[in-house]
């Protein structure tokens, strides 16, 4: 069996494995590795094998990856244009089919094709040096460690900021007597807050203690209808010792009552209709308080 046939079988097996893993819905590092190979290398490599290009490893990598990426772009355009979509199965089926068909064609034609002389391409090959391999692997591990440290540093920088979010979940319900606000503690520490609702001169205070990254929606059942004009919510960060501190004052203010919408009607506006419209308007204003 020639190296070309062996390579084609490898391509065939890897393409099939990728298709099987995706269709079965399995994840993990195996799928990640095989999936990356399927997208970035296998279709182009299969094409090179079919052409009978006997290349050095780096040249095969260069042309194989470039051809694969180009094939992915063209396949993607086809998937989008035909409205098949970009699901995992669509991708893996298309790319896997191309890879397997090209590899199978290579296997079929390689028996008949004459041997291709190795052309002098001027590209170097790697000599098998054991110590070098160890150093490369060690270098790769240190580089990965560097990225991990940088990632940890970036995430720690984000978490270092003691951030709290306040938002209006519902400032006025159907009966205008219930108000809901959302609170989230986006920091790495457990924090206590005073949530103060101020509807029309009143003041209702709730104390909340939130774990890191905890979200809570707090409801206030006021018992009486309130207008939308003066619902103010404040969130204050409580320092240790129970002293209220306004280091993080968050305010959500409701808007005033919107202008009532008067629906248009097709009849000509007679005097009677005008009176009726005015009556409706007054009732709407009264109802909204």
């Amino acid at each position: 069996m020639s190296s070309r046939q062996r390579a084609s079988i490898c391509v065939l097996v890897l393409c099939g494995l990728a298709v099987a893993l995706v269709w079965a819905g399995w994840g993990g590092p195996v799928r990640a590795t095989v999936g990356l190979l399927l997208v970035c290398l296998l279709p182009g490599l299969a094409m090179l094998l079919l052409f009978g290009l006997d290349l050095r490893p780096l040249e095969a990598f260069l042309y194989g990856v470039a051809a694969s990426v180009a094939i992915v772009v063209l396949i993607g355009i086809a998937l989008g244009a035909t409205h098949i979509g970009f699901s995992a199965r669509a991708w893996v089926t298309a790319l896997g089919a191309i890879g397997m068909i090209l590899a199978a064609a290579t296997l079929l034609t390689s028996e008949r094709a004459a041997g291709v002389a190795t052309a002098k391409s001027g590209w170097p090959i790697f000599a098998p040096v054991r110590v070098d391999h160890l150093l490369y692997i060690l270098g790769l591990c240190i580089a990965v460690l560097a990225v991990a440290i940088a990632h940890h540093s970036a995430v720690r920088h984000i978490r270092r900021v003691s951030l709290a979010e306040l938002w209006a979940a519902k400032l006025a319900g159907a009966t205008r007597s219930d108000v809901q606000v959302g609170v989230r503690n986006t920091s790495s520490n457990r924090r206590s807050f005073a949530l103060i609702l101020k509807p029309e001169g009143h003041s209702i205070t709730r104390t909340l203690t939130l774990a890191p990254n905890e979200t809570r929606v707090q409801s206030f059942a006021l018992g009486v209808a309130v207008s939308e004009s003066n619902v103010i919510v404040e969130l204050r960060d409580l320092r240790r010792g129970g002293t209220a501190s306004e280091t993080a004052t968050l305010v959500a203010a409701a808007r005033r009552a919107p202008v009532p919408h008067i629906s248009a009607h097709r009849k000509r506006p007679t005097a009677r209709n005008r009176v009726r419209a005015r009556h409706n308007l007054r009732r709407a204003i009264r109802h909204r308080g």
Binding site: A32, L36, L38, V39, F51, G52, L58, F61, L62, A66, A67, V69, A70, I71, V72, V73, L74, G80, H83, F86, S87, A88, V92, L95, V116, A119, W123, P124, F126, V129, V131, D132, Y136, G139, L140, A143, A146, I149, H151, S153, A154, I158, L163, A164, E165, W167, A168, A169, K170, A172, Q180, G182, T215, R216, E228, L250, V251, A253, R255, P258
Partner: protein, 635 residues
């Protein structure tokens, strides 16, 4: 001939095999050294995030520690061909990791955020040609988006990891293709190595060309096309030549839907190459011309077909950029326009005196070496048409420098460098190789001197191509791209994605608009409405009838207000939109009233607040919205 350098043959394999098994090679030691330097850079980035003043200096030392050993070894005569390729690959990938260390947990650069939004839209709609509220052209060239989706869906990796890996793979392709291209153009592996180092010194290589963006994806494909085609022309076997031409054909066609300017540059390069081949009138002209003609025709056809498919949107995007750059430069040269001082920054850190000297010095050295190289070409013309085509590209370099003298031309000049440096690599690489062979310099000192010159070019390139505020992470700045991606902004964008209707129209400052579009999946609005600047909603000290009219006419429902806008001037020169009235001329930060004017206004309800960033909901008087937005999924 000047472009055919002399090779230094390595030691014979027979006597060195057993020694190489147990003695580490220079490239392996360099790989380990580079990894340790990257580890140190990760610690420097950590220090920079908390504002340590020494981080900037150590950053430069670290970068030079990665670059100079590679440059010295490649310039030295003891470097074997295989070692040269390995060192270049390690250098190229090491510099890519430099960019990853800058933003290791998410994309933060402008183009990356725009691309992120496009990828997300493509994946959710399962169709091509979505709309991007920030840059309309991005979805029209979905090459990188499709490839990223493919990696993400097939491998199951996170989208961020998929994008990083994809661009890393493209970076490896770039290095290998450049080496191949330069080696075939100069017929010398050593000159090719030096030429690749010159290309790495271009202002965009370390950061801009390493970002998750459509140009970073398309450019390697274009370079590979040229390299494969050059390889095909050098091939004597007909079958192999056809096979390599087929590879070049596929990659050339894939460039067209990946990036507009790159596809135009590739087509133009192929046509110039074809013309150069025709002018040489060789006996085997037809044989040599056929692959280039075929790929040029395919590239041109793909470009035209894609332009027809995407409509006029590309010209609507490119015309203001290119037209503005050329017209402002022309006006400056005729004396009727105003220029831009180099290294000028409205706000934020500026280049130190030494950095400015290095920046100017690198340009002066490039121009000098270019002049020397062109002078030598008079006596020794290029040996092949490919070299001639690349030399023509090098001639554009002085023109791109002129564009830097105007505000409108800076971006165009920056973007042009990755094309122009393909030619500069060949010309300057040849000159530097000649310097290595000259007898006027001591043999052992020559590689050190040439490596030093390359190091200067490399440092100067970063000084010119990357603003001081963007080289390292650090404390928050106002409108400073990656330095404005802060926890408050990210939290607001994440909240908007969860609680606001998707694709809602809103107005925000530049940094928050990017995050709202990318991570919040909203549609920020800019430009003019009924003759009024949308930016005035944010920048005006009062909220009056004009602002209400803008919000009503443009159907804007939300306003994102960042209180920090009043603390500093914008680093990029504007707060919201490049066309806002006082863009690039802010003498003071926005008044505090600009960020507090919304409180208590009729029709405005503050529905979100996190201490720095607030979101207001605007109820137009004509709308039937009666209540604030209902929270979805709040727990």
């Amino acid at each position: 001939m000047i472009l055919s350098g002399q090779e230094v043959t390595p030691t014979t394999p027979a006597e060195s095999v057993s020694r190489r098994r147990w003695t580490p090679s220079y490239s392996a030691c360099y790989a380990l050294f580079t990894a340790v330097a990257l580890l140190a850079l990760a610690l420097v980035d950590d220090a920079a995030r908390i504002g340590r003043p020494w981080a900037g200096t150590v950053f430069w030392i670290d970068l030079l520690a990665i670059f100079l050993p590679a440059a010295w070894r490649i310039c030295s005569g003891a470097c074997a061909p295989e070692e040269r390729v390995r060192i270049l690959l390690i250098l190229g990938l090491g510099l890519y990791v430099v960019k990853i260390l800058h933003s290791p947990s998410q994309f933060t650069f402008h183009d990356e955020l725009v691309t992120w939004r496009t990828v997300h839209d493509l994946g959710s709609t399962n169709g091509l040609f979505t709309t991007n509220p920030i840059v309309k052209a991005f979805p029209l060239y979905p090459g990188i988006d499709l490839a990223t989706l493919a990696v993400n869906r097939v491998s199951g990796l996170h989208l961020f990891a998929s994008g990083l890996i994809l661009i890393g793979v493209m970076r490896a392709l770039t290095i290998l293709a450049l080496y191949q291209l330069f080696r075939l153009a100069t017929d010398s592996a050593r000159v090719a190595g030096i030429a690749v180092l010159v290309y790495i010194a271009n202002p965009n290589f370390v950061f801009f060309d390493a970002q998750f963006s459509y140009e970073s994806f398309a450019l390697p494909l274009a370079i590979v096309t040229l390299a494969v085609l050059a390889r095909a022309l050098a091939e004597s076997d007909r079958r192999r030549r056809h096979a390599l031409t087929a590879v070049a054909l596929i990659t050339a066609i894939a460039v067209a839907p990946s990036h507009h300017v790159t596809s135009y540059a590739l087509t133009l390069s192929l046509l110039v190459w074809l013309s150069a081949l025709a002018l040489r009138r060789r006996k085997d002209f037809t044989l040599r011309c056929a692959p280039v003609a075929l790929v040029a025709a395919a590239s041109a056809f793909a470009v035209i077909a894609w332009l027809i498919a995407v409509g006029r949107s590309t010209s609507e995007y490119l015309s203001p950029v290119l037209g503005g750059a050329s017209s402002s430069t022309l006006h400056l040269l005729l004396g009727s326009g105003s220029g831009k001082a180099p290294f000028q920054s409205v706000g934020g850190p500026t280049n130190s005196t030494l950095e400015r000297i290095i920046g100017f010095g690198s340009v002066a050295i490039l121009l000098t070496l270019l002049a020397v190289g062109l002078w030598r070409l008079r006596r020794h013309p290029p040996t092949n048409a490919l070299t001639g085509m690349l030399v023509l590209a090098a001639l554009l370099y002085p023109l791109t420098l002129a564009l830097r003298l105007t505000q409108a031309g800076v971006e165009t000049s920056n973007r042009a460098s990755e094309f122009v440096f393909l030619g500069l690599g060949v010309v300057i690489g040849t000159v530097l190789f000649s310097a290595l062979l000259t007898k006027r310099i001591h043999r052992s000192a020559a590689p050190l001197i040439v490596a030093g010159v390359l190091g200067l070019l490399f440092t100067g390139g970063i000084v010119i191509g990357q603003a001081p505020s963007a080289r390292l992470p650090g404390p928050s700045l106002v409108e400073a791209d990656s330095r404005s991606v802060e926890p408050y902004d990210l939290a607001a964008a994440a909240w908007a994605r969860k609680h606001l209707p998707p694709h809602s129209r809103l107005v925000a400052d530049r940094a928050n608009a990017l995050l709202m579009a990318a991570y919040g999946l909203q549609n920020p609005q800019v430009g003019k409405v009924v003759g009024l600047h949308v930016a005035s909603v944010i920048t005006s000290p009062t909220f009056g009838s004009s602002q209400r009219q803008i919000l009503s006419q443009d159907a804007i429902r939300f306003i994102v207000v960042d209180r920090r806008l009043s603390k500093s001037r914008p680093v990029v020169g504007y707060y919201v939109d490049k066309g806002e009235p006082r863009a690039f001329s802010y003498s003071a930060p926005l008044p505090f009233a600009s960020v507090t004017k919304f409180a208590g206004q009729f029709g405005l309800s503050r529905i979100y607040d996190n201490g720095e960033v607030s979101i207001y909901e605007f109820a137009s008087p004509a709308s039937t919205v009666r209540g604030p937005t209902q929270a979805r999924g709040a727990k």
